[in-house]
Symmetry: C2
Subunit: 218 residues, 2 copies
DNA sequence: AGTCTTTAGAGAATTTTATATCGAGAAAAC
DNA sequence: GTTTTCTCGATATAAAATTCTCTAAAGACT
Protein backbone atom coordinates (compact mmCIF):
# COMPACT_ATOMS: atom_id res chain seq x y z
CA UNK A 1 0.00 0.00 0.00
CA UNK A 2 1.02 3.50 -0.81
CA UNK A 3 1.34 5.60 2.32
CA UNK A 4 -0.46 8.80 1.62
CA UNK A 5 1.51 10.92 4.03
CA UNK A 6 4.87 10.29 2.47
CA UNK A 7 4.23 10.99 -1.17
CA UNK A 8 2.82 13.75 -3.29
CA UNK A 9 0.41 11.60 -5.24
CA UNK A 10 -2.56 13.28 -6.76
CA UNK A 11 -5.79 12.56 -4.93
CA UNK A 12 -8.92 12.49 -7.04
CA UNK A 13 -11.11 15.41 -6.10
CA UNK A 14 -14.27 13.28 -5.90
CA UNK A 15 -12.50 11.16 -3.34
CA UNK A 16 -11.55 14.20 -1.30
CA UNK A 17 -15.15 15.35 -1.36
CA UNK A 18 -16.47 11.98 -0.24
CA UNK A 19 -14.09 11.38 2.64
CA UNK A 20 -15.71 13.94 4.95
CA UNK A 21 -19.08 12.35 4.42
CA UNK A 22 -17.67 8.99 5.41
CA UNK A 23 -16.24 10.54 8.52
CA UNK A 24 -19.53 12.11 9.37
CA UNK A 25 -21.36 8.83 8.99
CA UNK A 26 -18.77 7.18 11.19
CA UNK A 27 -19.30 9.66 13.99
CA UNK A 28 -22.99 8.89 13.87
CA UNK A 29 -22.39 5.14 13.88
CA UNK A 30 -19.80 5.44 16.63
CA UNK A 31 -22.38 7.31 18.65
CA UNK A 32 -24.64 4.31 18.27
CA UNK A 33 -21.92 2.11 19.70
CA UNK A 34 -20.87 0.46 16.48
CA UNK A 35 -17.37 -0.99 16.72
CA UNK A 36 -16.45 -1.83 13.15
CA UNK A 37 -17.85 -0.94 9.80
CA UNK A 38 -17.57 -2.31 6.28
CA UNK A 39 -17.50 -0.57 2.94
CA UNK A 40 -20.80 -2.14 2.01
CA UNK A 41 -22.48 -0.59 5.03
CA UNK A 42 -21.04 2.81 4.24
CA UNK A 43 -22.00 2.47 0.61
CA UNK A 44 -25.54 1.54 1.44
CA UNK A 45 -25.90 4.41 3.87
CA UNK A 46 -24.56 6.98 1.45
CA UNK A 47 -25.82 5.52 -1.80
CA UNK A 48 -22.41 4.79 -3.17
CA UNK A 49 -20.77 1.81 -4.72
CA UNK A 50 -18.97 -0.28 -2.10
CA UNK A 51 -15.91 -0.63 -4.31
CA UNK A 52 -15.67 3.08 -4.60
CA UNK A 53 -15.88 3.51 -0.86
CA UNK A 54 -13.14 0.92 -0.46
CA UNK A 55 -10.86 2.71 -2.89
CA UNK A 56 -11.42 6.03 -1.21
CA UNK A 57 -10.65 4.52 2.17
CA UNK A 58 -7.61 2.69 0.86
CA UNK A 59 -6.13 6.05 -0.12
CA UNK A 60 -6.08 7.12 3.50
CA UNK A 61 -3.72 4.22 4.17
CA UNK A 62 -5.73 2.07 6.55
CA UNK A 63 -6.07 -1.70 6.26
CA UNK A 64 -9.24 -3.57 6.98
CA UNK A 65 -9.98 -7.11 7.97
CA UNK A 66 -11.94 -9.48 5.77
CA UNK A 67 -15.43 -10.23 6.95
CA UNK A 68 -15.18 -7.52 9.62
CA UNK A 69 -14.33 -4.31 7.84
CA UNK A 70 -12.51 -1.50 9.58
CA UNK A 71 -12.32 -0.58 13.22
CA UNK A 72 -14.50 2.48 13.31
CA UNK A 73 -12.16 4.58 15.41
CA UNK A 74 -9.11 3.58 13.41
CA UNK A 75 -10.94 4.54 10.26
CA UNK A 76 -12.04 7.88 11.64
CA UNK A 77 -8.50 8.54 12.73
CA UNK A 78 -7.16 7.54 9.36
CA UNK A 79 -9.47 9.94 7.57
CA UNK A 80 -8.76 12.74 10.02
CA UNK A 81 -5.07 12.20 9.64
CA UNK A 82 -5.24 12.02 5.89
CA UNK A 83 -7.28 15.20 5.59
CA UNK A 84 -5.02 17.01 8.01
CA UNK A 85 -7.75 17.55 10.56
CA UNK A 86 -5.27 16.92 13.34
CA UNK A 87 -3.23 20.03 12.75
CA UNK A 88 -5.58 22.75 11.57
CA UNK A 89 -4.28 25.53 9.37
CA UNK A 90 -4.85 29.09 10.44
CA UNK A 91 -7.25 31.17 8.40
CA UNK A 92 -8.48 34.74 8.21
CA UNK A 93 -12.06 35.53 7.38
CA UNK A 94 -13.05 38.80 5.76
CA UNK A 95 -16.61 40.02 5.89
CA UNK A 96 -18.79 39.48 8.95
CA UNK A 97 -22.12 40.01 7.27
CA UNK A 98 -24.70 37.26 7.35
CA UNK A 99 -22.57 34.88 5.38
CA UNK A 100 -19.43 35.59 7.34
CA UNK A 101 -21.25 35.10 10.60
CA UNK A 102 -22.74 31.89 9.30
CA UNK A 103 -19.28 30.62 8.49
CA UNK A 104 -17.92 31.69 11.86
CA UNK A 105 -20.70 29.89 13.63
CA UNK A 106 -21.19 27.10 11.14
CA UNK A 107 -19.44 24.52 13.21
CA UNK A 108 -16.06 24.20 14.78
CA UNK A 109 -14.07 24.35 11.59
CA UNK A 110 -10.98 23.88 13.70
CA UNK A 111 -12.02 20.30 14.13
CA UNK A 112 -12.00 19.99 10.37
CA UNK A 113 -8.59 21.28 9.52
CA UNK A 114 -9.05 25.00 9.61
CA UNK A 115 -8.83 27.45 12.45
CA UNK A 116 -10.33 30.84 11.78
CA UNK A 117 -8.08 32.93 13.96
CA UNK A 118 -9.30 36.39 13.04
CA UNK A 119 -12.15 38.18 11.31
CA UNK A 120 -11.92 41.39 9.36
CA UNK A 121 -14.35 43.87 7.92
CA UNK A 122 -14.19 47.14 6.07
CA UNK A 123 -17.21 48.57 7.85
CA UNK A 124 -16.01 50.77 10.74
CA UNK A 125 -19.24 50.06 12.57
CA UNK A 126 -18.35 46.43 12.91
CA UNK A 127 -14.74 46.84 13.99
CA UNK A 128 -14.15 45.81 17.56
CA UNK A 129 -17.35 43.85 17.83
CA UNK A 130 -17.23 40.25 18.78
CA UNK A 131 -18.62 37.44 16.64
CA UNK A 132 -18.41 33.90 17.91
CA UNK A 133 -15.35 34.74 19.94
CA UNK A 134 -13.44 36.67 17.31
CA UNK A 135 -13.00 40.39 17.56
CA UNK A 136 -13.44 42.07 14.20
CA UNK A 137 -10.33 43.85 12.98
CA UNK A 138 -10.04 46.54 10.33
CA UNK A 139 -9.30 45.25 6.87
CA UNK A 140 -6.15 47.29 6.44
CA UNK A 141 -4.44 45.28 9.15
CA UNK A 142 -4.93 42.03 7.29
CA UNK A 143 -1.84 41.96 5.11
CA UNK A 144 0.57 42.74 7.92
CA UNK A 145 -1.01 40.35 10.36
CA UNK A 146 -1.20 37.56 7.83
CA UNK A 147 2.48 37.90 7.14
CA UNK A 148 3.42 38.06 10.80
CA UNK A 149 1.29 35.07 11.74
CA UNK A 150 2.09 33.09 8.61
CA UNK A 151 -1.57 32.64 7.86
CA UNK A 152 -2.01 30.76 4.60
CA UNK A 153 -5.79 30.62 4.13
CA UNK A 154 -8.12 33.51 3.48
CA UNK A 155 -11.90 33.32 3.39
CA UNK A 156 -13.77 35.93 1.40
CA UNK A 157 -17.33 36.53 2.53
CA UNK A 158 -17.84 40.06 1.31
CA UNK A 159 -20.09 41.48 -1.42
CA UNK A 160 -18.76 40.83 -4.88
CA UNK A 161 -17.94 44.50 -5.43
CA UNK A 162 -15.10 44.43 -2.92
CA UNK A 163 -14.01 40.82 -3.28
CA UNK A 164 -11.12 41.60 -5.61
CA UNK A 165 -9.89 44.28 -3.25
CA UNK A 166 -9.90 41.84 -0.37
CA UNK A 167 -8.17 39.22 -2.47
CA UNK A 168 -5.43 41.71 -3.29
CA UNK A 169 -4.90 42.35 0.40
CA UNK A 170 -4.71 38.66 1.06
CA UNK A 171 -2.17 38.07 -1.66
CA UNK A 172 -0.20 41.02 -0.36
CA UNK A 173 -0.15 39.34 3.02
CA UNK A 174 1.29 36.15 1.60
CA UNK A 175 -1.90 34.13 1.79
CA UNK A 176 -1.66 31.14 -0.50
CA UNK A 177 -5.19 29.80 -0.66
CA UNK A 178 -8.40 31.77 -0.95
CA UNK A 179 -11.80 30.32 -0.25
CA UNK A 180 -14.04 32.63 -2.19
CA UNK A 181 -17.73 32.86 -1.33
CA UNK A 182 -18.30 35.96 -3.41
CA UNK A 183 -19.88 35.29 -6.79
CA UNK A 184 -17.03 36.69 -8.83
CA UNK A 185 -13.87 35.41 -10.38
CA UNK A 186 -10.74 36.61 -8.66
CA UNK A 187 -7.54 37.71 -10.28
CA UNK A 188 -4.60 36.63 -8.18
CA UNK A 189 -0.89 36.12 -8.50
CA UNK A 190 0.11 32.82 -10.05
CA UNK A 191 0.58 30.14 -7.45
CA UNK A 192 -2.21 31.39 -5.24
CA UNK A 193 -5.00 28.85 -5.01
CA UNK A 194 -8.53 30.12 -5.41
CA UNK A 195 -11.45 27.93 -4.59
CA UNK A 196 -14.77 29.42 -5.56
CA UNK A 197 -17.83 28.38 -3.66
CA UNK A 198 -20.21 29.02 -6.47
CA UNK A 199 -23.83 28.78 -5.43
CA UNK A 200 -25.04 29.49 -8.93
CA UNK A 201 -23.14 26.50 -10.19
CA UNK A 202 -24.78 24.31 -7.58
CA UNK A 203 -28.13 25.79 -8.39
CA UNK A 204 -27.62 25.01 -12.05
CA UNK A 205 -27.00 21.37 -11.20
CA UNK A 206 -30.00 21.21 -8.93
CA UNK A 207 -32.29 22.84 -11.48
CA UNK A 208 -31.14 20.53 -14.20
CA UNK A 209 -31.61 17.45 -12.08
CA UNK A 210 -35.08 18.60 -11.16
CA UNK A 211 -35.94 19.44 -14.75
CA UNK A 212 -34.83 16.08 -16.11
CA UNK A 213 -36.59 14.26 -13.28
CA UNK A 214 -39.89 16.01 -13.89
CA UNK A 215 -39.50 15.62 -17.64
CA UNK A 216 -39.13 11.88 -17.31
CA UNK A 217 -42.10 11.45 -15.01
CA UNK A 218 -44.44 13.38 -17.30
CA UNK B 1 -26.53 19.91 -33.64
CA UNK B 2 -28.50 18.52 -30.77
CA UNK B 3 -31.08 20.99 -29.57
CA UNK B 4 -30.89 20.91 -25.83
CA UNK B 5 -34.39 22.09 -25.18
CA UNK B 6 -36.12 19.32 -27.03
CA UNK B 7 -34.46 16.24 -25.62
CA UNK B 8 -33.75 14.71 -22.27
CA UNK B 9 -30.07 14.11 -22.84
CA UNK B 10 -27.88 13.86 -19.82
CA UNK B 11 -25.77 16.94 -19.28
CA UNK B 12 -22.37 16.41 -17.70
CA UNK B 13 -22.35 17.94 -14.25
CA UNK B 14 -19.00 19.67 -14.79
CA UNK B 15 -20.51 21.39 -17.78
CA UNK B 16 -23.49 22.54 -15.76
CA UNK B 17 -21.17 23.95 -13.14
CA UNK B 18 -19.09 25.82 -15.69
CA UNK B 19 -21.90 27.41 -17.64
CA UNK B 20 -22.80 29.96 -14.96
CA UNK B 21 -19.21 31.11 -14.81
CA UNK B 22 -19.20 31.66 -18.56
CA UNK B 23 -22.35 33.69 -18.22
CA UNK B 24 -20.86 35.75 -15.48
CA UNK B 25 -17.77 36.48 -17.51
CA UNK B 26 -19.97 37.48 -20.43
CA UNK B 27 -21.87 40.01 -18.36
CA UNK B 28 -18.57 41.58 -17.39
CA UNK B 29 -17.34 41.65 -20.98
CA UNK B 30 -20.67 42.95 -22.24
CA UNK B 31 -20.38 45.73 -19.71
CA UNK B 32 -17.07 46.63 -21.31
CA UNK B 33 -18.78 46.92 -24.67
CA UNK B 34 -17.48 43.69 -26.16
CA UNK B 35 -19.65 42.50 -29.04
CA UNK B 36 -18.47 38.99 -29.72
CA UNK B 37 -16.38 36.51 -27.88
CA UNK B 38 -14.47 33.35 -28.74
CA UNK B 39 -13.91 30.18 -26.77
CA UNK B 40 -10.22 30.91 -26.58
CA UNK B 41 -10.88 34.21 -24.87
CA UNK B 42 -13.23 32.60 -22.38
CA UNK B 43 -10.80 29.80 -21.78
CA UNK B 44 -7.94 32.15 -21.16
CA UNK B 45 -9.99 34.25 -18.76
CA UNK B 46 -11.19 31.28 -16.76
CA UNK B 47 -8.16 29.05 -17.08
CA UNK B 48 -9.93 26.40 -19.06
CA UNK B 49 -9.21 24.53 -22.24
CA UNK B 50 -10.77 26.27 -25.24
CA UNK B 51 -12.12 23.02 -26.61
CA UNK B 52 -13.84 22.33 -23.37
CA UNK B 53 -15.44 25.74 -23.38
CA UNK B 54 -16.58 25.11 -26.94
CA UNK B 55 -18.16 21.80 -26.07
CA UNK B 56 -19.93 23.25 -23.07
CA UNK B 57 -21.29 26.08 -25.19
CA UNK B 58 -22.30 23.74 -27.97
CA UNK B 59 -24.57 21.94 -25.53
CA UNK B 60 -26.63 25.07 -25.09
CA UNK B 61 -27.46 24.91 -28.78
CA UNK B 62 -25.90 28.09 -30.11
CA UNK B 63 -23.79 28.28 -33.25
CA UNK B 64 -20.77 30.43 -33.62
CA UNK B 65 -18.91 31.87 -36.54
CA UNK B 66 -15.32 30.90 -37.36
CA UNK B 67 -12.76 33.60 -36.68
CA UNK B 68 -15.36 35.66 -34.82
CA UNK B 69 -16.78 33.48 -32.11
CA UNK B 70 -20.22 34.05 -30.69
CA UNK B 71 -22.33 37.14 -30.44
CA UNK B 72 -22.06 37.93 -26.77
CA UNK B 73 -25.74 38.62 -26.22
CA UNK B 74 -26.82 35.58 -28.19
CA UNK B 75 -24.52 33.48 -26.11
CA UNK B 76 -25.75 34.89 -22.83
CA UNK B 77 -29.29 34.28 -23.96
CA UNK B 78 -28.46 30.77 -24.99
CA UNK B 79 -26.98 29.95 -21.61
CA UNK B 80 -29.84 31.58 -19.75
CA UNK B 81 -32.34 29.70 -21.82
CA UNK B 82 -30.54 26.42 -21.41
CA UNK B 83 -30.24 26.75 -17.66
CA UNK B 84 -33.86 27.77 -17.36
CA UNK B 85 -33.08 31.19 -15.97
CA UNK B 86 -35.95 32.62 -17.98
CA UNK B 87 -38.67 30.90 -16.04
CA UNK B 88 -37.57 30.61 -12.42
CA UNK B 89 -38.87 27.81 -10.25
CA UNK B 90 -40.50 28.65 -6.96
CA UNK B 91 -38.69 27.68 -3.80
CA UNK B 92 -39.24 27.70 -0.06
CA UNK B 93 -36.44 28.47 2.33
CA UNK B 94 -36.43 27.15 5.88
CA UNK B 95 -34.25 28.73 8.52
CA UNK B 96 -33.65 32.45 8.61
CA UNK B 97 -30.56 32.41 10.77
CA UNK B 98 -27.36 33.88 9.46
CA UNK B 99 -27.08 31.42 6.63
CA UNK B 100 -30.72 31.70 5.63
CA UNK B 101 -30.50 35.46 5.61
CA UNK B 102 -27.34 35.28 3.58
CA UNK B 103 -29.11 33.15 1.00
CA UNK B 104 -32.12 35.43 0.94
CA UNK B 105 -29.92 38.41 0.34
CA UNK B 106 -27.21 36.68 -1.59
CA UNK B 107 -28.29 38.01 -4.92
CA UNK B 108 -31.42 37.93 -6.94
CA UNK B 109 -31.68 34.20 -7.27
CA UNK B 110 -34.79 34.78 -9.33
CA UNK B 111 -32.53 35.95 -12.10
CA UNK B 112 -30.79 32.62 -11.91
CA UNK B 113 -33.66 30.23 -12.15
CA UNK B 114 -35.01 30.17 -8.64
CA UNK B 115 -37.53 32.36 -6.91
CA UNK B 116 -37.60 32.09 -3.14
CA UNK B 117 -41.24 32.83 -2.54
CA UNK B 118 -41.44 32.20 1.18
CA UNK B 119 -39.28 31.75 4.24
CA UNK B 120 -40.05 29.59 7.24
CA UNK B 121 -38.63 29.15 10.69
CA UNK B 122 -39.39 27.12 13.75
CA UNK B 123 -38.47 29.89 16.14
CA UNK B 124 -41.66 31.71 17.21
CA UNK B 125 -39.61 34.84 17.81
CA UNK B 126 -38.85 35.10 14.13
CA UNK B 127 -42.30 34.43 12.76
CA UNK B 128 -43.88 37.46 11.15
CA UNK B 129 -40.62 39.29 10.80
CA UNK B 130 -39.51 40.45 7.41
CA UNK B 131 -36.25 39.44 5.79
CA UNK B 132 -35.39 40.83 2.39
CA UNK B 133 -39.05 41.19 1.55
CA UNK B 134 -40.23 37.82 2.76
CA UNK B 135 -42.35 37.48 5.84
CA UNK B 136 -41.28 34.52 7.93
CA UNK B 137 -43.97 31.88 8.29
CA UNK B 138 -44.25 29.11 10.86
CA UNK B 139 -42.73 25.84 9.82
CA UNK B 140 -45.92 23.85 10.29
CA UNK B 141 -47.54 25.71 7.42
CA UNK B 142 -44.89 24.60 4.97
CA UNK B 143 -46.31 21.29 3.81
CA UNK B 144 -49.76 22.65 3.10
CA UNK B 145 -48.52 25.74 1.37
CA UNK B 146 -46.02 23.84 -0.72
CA UNK B 147 -48.73 21.57 -1.95
CA UNK B 148 -51.14 24.39 -2.67
CA UNK B 149 -48.55 26.47 -4.50
CA UNK B 150 -46.90 23.53 -6.24
CA UNK B 151 -43.52 24.53 -4.93
CA UNK B 152 -40.92 22.00 -5.99
CA UNK B 153 -37.71 23.27 -4.40
CA UNK B 154 -36.90 23.46 -0.72
CA UNK B 155 -33.82 25.06 0.79
CA UNK B 156 -32.68 23.86 4.19
CA UNK B 157 -30.67 26.41 6.15
CA UNK B 158 -31.30 25.20 9.67
CA UNK B 159 -28.98 23.65 12.26
CA UNK B 160 -28.21 20.04 11.55
CA UNK B 161 -30.25 18.83 14.51
CA UNK B 162 -33.53 19.80 12.89
CA UNK B 163 -32.61 19.35 9.23
CA UNK B 164 -34.20 15.91 8.93
CA UNK B 165 -37.39 17.18 10.49
CA UNK B 166 -37.56 19.99 7.97
CA UNK B 167 -36.82 17.62 5.14
CA UNK B 168 -39.70 15.43 6.23
CA UNK B 169 -42.03 18.42 6.11
CA UNK B 170 -40.80 19.28 2.67
CA UNK B 171 -41.33 15.79 1.36
CA UNK B 172 -44.76 15.77 2.96
CA UNK B 173 -45.52 18.93 1.02
CA UNK B 174 -44.59 17.33 -2.27
CA UNK B 175 -41.29 19.11 -2.69
CA UNK B 176 -39.14 17.26 -5.17
CA UNK B 177 -35.72 18.81 -4.79
CA UNK B 178 -33.98 19.79 -1.59
CA UNK B 179 -30.97 22.06 -1.45
CA UNK B 180 -29.41 21.11 1.83
CA UNK B 181 -27.01 23.49 3.55
CA UNK B 182 -27.04 21.59 6.82
CA UNK B 183 -24.02 19.37 7.33
CA UNK B 184 -25.97 16.14 7.57
CA UNK B 185 -27.18 13.49 5.24
CA UNK B 186 -30.92 13.50 4.72
CA UNK B 187 -33.19 10.53 4.49
CA UNK B 188 -35.92 11.20 1.97
CA UNK B 189 -38.46 9.31 -0.09
CA UNK B 190 -37.09 7.80 -3.26
CA UNK B 191 -37.38 10.16 -6.18
CA UNK B 192 -36.73 13.25 -4.11
CA UNK B 193 -33.53 14.94 -5.17
CA UNK B 194 -31.16 16.04 -2.44
CA UNK B 195 -28.27 18.28 -3.20
CA UNK B 196 -25.93 18.74 -0.29
CA UNK B 197 -23.91 21.90 -0.10
CA UNK B 198 -21.09 20.38 1.87
CA UNK B 199 -18.60 22.94 3.11
CA UNK B 200 -16.43 20.31 4.71
CA UNK B 201 -16.03 18.62 1.37
CA UNK B 202 -14.93 21.89 -0.19
CA UNK B 203 -12.61 22.52 2.67
CA UNK B 204 -11.05 19.11 2.21
CA UNK B 205 -10.31 19.93 -1.40
CA UNK B 206 -8.89 23.31 -0.52
CA UNK B 207 -6.69 21.91 2.23
CA UNK B 208 -5.38 19.21 -0.01
CA UNK B 209 -4.58 21.62 -2.81
CA UNK B 210 -2.78 23.85 -0.36
CA UNK B 211 -0.91 20.97 1.18
CA UNK B 212 0.31 19.57 -2.13
CA UNK B 213 1.23 23.05 -3.34
CA UNK B 214 3.32 23.83 -0.28
CA UNK B 215 4.85 20.35 -0.34
CA UNK B 216 6.05 20.86 -3.89
CA UNK B 217 7.53 24.28 -3.28
CA UNK B 218 9.50 23.14 -0.23
C1' DA C 1 -7.12 37.94 -55.58
C1' DG C 2 -4.14 35.28 -52.73
C1' DT C 3 -2.10 34.18 -48.32
C1' DC C 4 -2.13 33.94 -43.43
C1' DT C 5 -4.23 33.61 -39.03
C1' DT C 6 -7.90 32.60 -36.03
C1' DT C 7 -11.72 30.00 -34.86
C1' DA C 8 -15.81 26.79 -34.74
C1' DG C 9 -17.02 22.09 -35.03
C1' DA C 10 -16.53 17.15 -35.41
C1' DG C 11 -14.24 13.14 -34.13
C1' DA C 12 -10.37 10.56 -32.08
C1' DA C 13 -7.31 9.76 -28.32
C1' DT C 14 -6.14 10.27 -23.66
C1' DT C 15 -6.95 10.65 -18.99
C1' DT C 16 -9.71 10.30 -15.13
C1' DT C 17 -13.27 8.27 -12.49
C1' DA C 18 -16.56 4.66 -11.54
C1' DT C 19 -18.04 -0.09 -11.56
C1' DA C 20 -17.50 -5.04 -11.98
C1' DT C 21 -14.96 -9.35 -11.22
C1' DC C 22 -12.12 -12.53 -8.79
C1' DG C 23 -9.21 -14.69 -5.26
C1' DA C 24 -8.01 -15.05 -0.48
C1' DG C 25 -8.84 -14.57 4.36
C1' DA C 26 -11.71 -14.29 8.49
C1' DA C 27 -15.67 -15.01 11.14
C1' DA C 28 -20.04 -17.42 11.76
C1' DA C 29 -23.07 -21.36 10.96
C1' DC C 30 -23.59 -26.03 10.66
C1' DG D 1 -13.89 -29.57 11.37
C1' DT D 2 -16.18 -28.26 7.29
C1' DT D 3 -19.05 -25.22 4.83
C1' DT D 4 -21.07 -20.90 4.11
C1' DT D 5 -21.01 -16.07 4.01
C1' DC D 6 -19.06 -11.80 4.07
C1' DT D 7 -15.39 -8.62 3.16
C1' DC D 8 -10.93 -6.75 1.74
C1' DG D 9 -7.70 -5.90 -1.83
C1' DA D 10 -6.15 -6.23 -6.45
C1' DT D 11 -7.12 -6.32 -11.19
C1' DA D 12 -9.96 -5.58 -15.12
C1' DT D 13 -13.59 -3.34 -17.50
C1' DA D 14 -16.63 0.41 -18.49
C1' DA D 15 -18.12 5.03 -18.45
C1' DA D 16 -17.28 9.82 -18.22
C1' DA D 17 -14.67 13.85 -18.94
C1' DT D 18 -10.89 16.20 -20.88
C1' DT D 19 -7.63 17.13 -24.28
C1' DC D 20 -5.82 16.62 -28.91
C1' DT D 21 -6.16 16.68 -34.06
C1' DC D 22 -7.94 17.94 -38.18
C1' DT D 23 -10.96 20.47 -41.53
C1' DA D 24 -13.43 24.21 -43.24
C1' DA D 25 -14.90 28.81 -42.83
C1' DA D 26 -14.34 33.81 -41.87
C1' DG D 27 -11.84 37.76 -41.43
C1' DA D 28 -7.21 40.35 -41.84
C1' DC D 29 -3.23 41.48 -44.39
C1' DT D 30 -0.36 42.00 -48.42
Amino acid sequence: MYMATENPMRIPEPTLRRLPSYHHLLTVLAGDGVQSVSCSVIGRALNLDATQVRKDIAITGIEGKPKVGYDIYDLMGSIENFLGWNNPKQAFLVGVGNLGQAILGYQQFNRYGMDIVAAFDGDPGKIGKDFYGREVLPLDKLANLARRMHVLIGIIAVPKEVAQLVADQMVAGGIQAIWNFAPVGLDVAPGVIVQNEDLFASLAVLSNRLATATAQSS
